[in-house]
């Protein structure tokens, strides 16, 4: 397999590693955000909790970013 193909596959893998968790995070944050918006309307003192809850699914995309970085690091080892 040529270097260009390998590099391309690495790039696609890295893109998938970040984009799939990003989508998952977006879906989760959307749902939590909507629920918390309703909750805050009833009890405004929940703002702090809401911010934390919305931040919870971000772990997925953050780990995705880490994996994507590790994958792009593979570029140097392609022979």
């Amino acid at each position: 397999m040529g270097v260009a193909v390998k590099t391309g596959l690495i790039a696609i893998s890295a893109a998938l590693a970040i984009s799939i968790p990003a989508l998952a995070t977006a879906i989760a944050q959307g749902r939590i955000g909507a629920a918390m918006a309703g909750a805050i309307a009833e009890r405004p003192e929940l703002v702090g909790t809401a911010i934390i809850l919305v931040a919870i699914p971000e772990t997925m995309v953050i780990l995705g970013l880490v994996i994507a970085f590790i994958i792009t690091g593979l570029k140097t080892t392609v022979k």
Binding site: T59, I62, L63, L65, F69
Partner: protein
């Protein structure tokens, strides 16, 4: 740390109950326990809730009315907060407050009458003028639109007209009105309309005067707004009325200004007194409203509650000095778990840590008897924040902004706390910025030649100490040393979670809960075992036995976890491994910030190549993108550092308190 509390019960003869409540209120240290539930559960009916005598209840009704009145007067005078004289308020408070409710009420009524004499008339006049102005301002454009139409109508004999105002989006209703009024008037009608503004349309219904009553009746049930002028203007021709409206619109603001001047004088004269009255009523009513929380028998009253241990003696002394042997204060120990759950919590930290109590805005205080983790937050939060932001320039801006907020808003506790936390976080961001050698991204690295770009367009870091292959190196470039930082973040995570778990073990020991201790201990073993098991990725020369020992520790930890909390313990241990990897955000968030800062610098640099215009664009791009990155750089690391505490660390041990310590205390005229 959590302040040690004492549970007390105060028993006294019923005839001194009201005076005793007053002394306790004066002391301002007792957090009252509502005895209603306990009394309800008692089999013996000898103890009942304390009730106010009838006369006392009458005073309560009167004070409630006076409170509403004074509140209304304060709202009307709207005193500026920065001109309050606390000493003056306290003095007025002392003059008004009396243990004799009747006397106090009389003093308040007299003072309010005096203030009202001077302020009632201008306040009412001001309100009337404001209503008139807003009504005239509404009429003016409508009349201006309708005026030319009415002039045309005036030339028609036997015709009458009614002006309407309709929301523009419902303009289509005019067709319906036209059809219906045509039926009523046998076709002798017409509707002329003109838009007043973006929201409303004025319409003039012109019809034969014979049908005036029928048309009026029809419109009355159609829910359309008829333009009804004030009675003094309604009889005048519309052009005259319009002229008069314009004159009034000009005159009223001047009149309002004159009234405002006289009201400002009254405000300056009476604000302190009004606030003192408000506080006096508040304190007296708080004292009255507390009564049903107490208990009584035929002979004695019972007051129960908590107060800081150091306040027991002064309370005892104050009661004994006033009532002698007619009252007894008994201290009961707080040691049972159920006692601790009910005990209100107040924190007593050193001045530095106290600012970090801001975390309890989004969480309750820790439960009484547990370890207060505020100090853990005070140490780790700014470090995590700094680790993520990690830029000398950004750190400097954050620290300076935080310090300004801290100093300027010292009278607003929340803003002052946030400012202080930001300042410390900013300082740590500068420290880590120096470690990464980042100043508004890679700007300083490129300027000093430490970071260069090779022929392939790749960035090359020329380390001052060590190389990209050594652990000890300087600068510690985040992009180049990503894997190294990932390892460091995992170690930080293990340490941070271990601190949380150790606190959990201490709490378990305090509660004499061995299972709890075993569960947390097992998790500590799993975490450190994990660290050893993966350590050879960073230190390949370490013997393989290290990995084996790490694996053994993980297994042992899971077994201990199971011994402590059953299968839940095993699940928790495995979840904690996942929690450790959550600390990867410490580098990931920072990395996103570095890349954005680098992009800002590259774009600004490219734009700068386009002559003078390019330089201006470059500066704008630099400021905008770095500004955006800074805003994200403050918000995101704060949220994630908070989350690491509340979820990953505190989540392992934190039990929230049910109640915050809120002493039964007089405002003393201070609020």
């Amino acid at each position: 740390m959590i302040q040690r509390m004492a549970k007390v019960e105060i028993l006294g003869l019923k005839d001194i109950a009201i005076d005793a409540i007053d002394v306790i209120h004066d002391q301002g240290t007792l957090h009252i326990e509502d005895l209603t539930e306990r009394i309800g559960k008692m089999e013996s009916k000898r103890v009942s809730r304390m009730e106010m005598d009838e006369k006392y209840a009458e005073h309560e009704v009167k004070l409630r009315m006076l409170r509403d009145k004074v509140g209304q007067m304060i709202r009307e005078l709207n005193p500026p907060e920065d001109h309050l004289d606390k000493a003056e308020i306290q003095k007025a408070y002392s003059d008004l407050y009396s243990e004799d409710v009747e006397l106090m009420t009389a003093r308040i009524e007299k003072s309010l009458e005096e203030i009202e004499r001077e302020t009632r008339e201008p306040v009412e006049k001001k309100n009337d003028l404001q209503v008139e102005l807003s009504r005239l301002e509404k009429y003016s454009p409508i009349m201006a639109k309708v005026q030319p139409l009415t002039e045309r109508v005036a030339r028609m004999e036997n015709m009458s007209s009614i002006a309407l105002i309709i929301e523009r989006k419902y303009k289509v209703i005019l067709n319906y009105l036209n059809e219906e009024i045509s039926k009523i008037t046998d076709g002798e009608c017409e509707i002329i309309s003109a838009d007043v503004d973006e929201e409303s349309t004025a319409a003039l219904v012109v019809f034969n005067r014979r049908y005036l009553k029928q048309v009026h009746d029809f419109l009355a049930v159609q829910d359309v707004n008829q333009v009804r002028l004030p009675s003094d203007l309604a009889r005048k021709p519309i052009d005259e009325a319009l002229e008069e409206v314009k004159i009034r619109i000009n005159e009223i603001p001047k009149e309002l200004e004159r009234i405002d001047v006289s009201l400002q004088q009254a405000t300056a004269k009476y604000t302190n007194k009004l606030l003192a009255i408000r506080n006096t009523i508040h304190d007296r009513m708080e004292s009255m409203e507390a009564v049903p929380k107490f208990g009584q028998t035929d002979q004695v009253f019972i007051i129960s509650g908590w107060l800081p241990e150091e306040s027991v003696k002064p309370m005892e002394k104050a009661l004994y000095d006033k009532f002698g042997n007619k009252i007894i204060l008994t201290v009961t120990d707080i040691h049972e778990e159920s006692d601790e759950e009910e005990t209100p919590v107040v924190l007593k930290n050193n001045p530095f840590v106290r600012y970090f109590e801001i975390i309890y805005l989004i969480s309750n205080y820790p439960r009484y008897g547990n370890v207060d983790p505020t100090i853990v937050f005070a140490i780790f939060f700014p470090i995590f924040f700094g680790l993520m932001v990690g830029d000398i320039g950004y750190g400097l801006i954050i620290a300076v902004a935080g310090f300004i907020v801290y100093k300027k808003m010292s009278d607003k506790p929340l803003a002052s706390m946030a400012g202080f936390v930001m300042t410390v976080g900013g300082v740590w961001a500068m420290i880590f910025g120096a470690v990464y050698l980042e100043f508004f991204g890679d700007w300083i690295g490129r300027w000093s030649g430490i970071i260069t770009t090779n022929a392939e367009g790749e960035d090359v870091v020329h380390y001052l100490i060590g190389s990209s292959k050594t652990i000890i190196r300087y600068p510690m470039d985040r992009l180049d040393g990503f894997t190294l930082f990932l390892g460091i973040c995992i170690i930080i995570g293990v340490v941070h979670m271990t601190v949380g778990l150790i606190i959990g073990m201490i709490n378990g020991r305090h509660e004499k809960n061995t299972k709890h201790i075993l569960e947390k201990g097992g998790m500590v073993l799993v975490l450190w075992g994990l660290l050893l098991a993966i350590s050879r990725f960073g230190f390949p020369h370490w013997p393989k036995a290290v990995t084996f020992i790490g694996a053994l520790m993980i297994v042992a930890g899971i077994v201990i976890g199971i011994a402590g909390a059953g299968m839940g313990g095993a699940v928790e241990s495995i979840v904690s491994i996942g929690n450790v990897f959550s600390y990867a955000r410490l580098i990931a968030i920072g990395l996103a910030s570095v890349i954005m800062a680098k992009a800002a610098n590259d774009l600004a640099k490219e734009a700068g190549k386009g002559g003078v215009f390019g330089v201006i664009i470059g500066i704008i791009v630099f400021i905008l993108l770095h500004g955006l990155n800074l805003v994200i750089g403050v918000f995101s690391p704060s949220i994630h550092a908070l989350r690491l505490h509340l979820v990953e660390s505190f989540g392992k041990f934190f039990e929230p308190a049910k109640y915050k310590y809120e002493p039964f205390k007089k405002t003393g005229g201070e609020q």
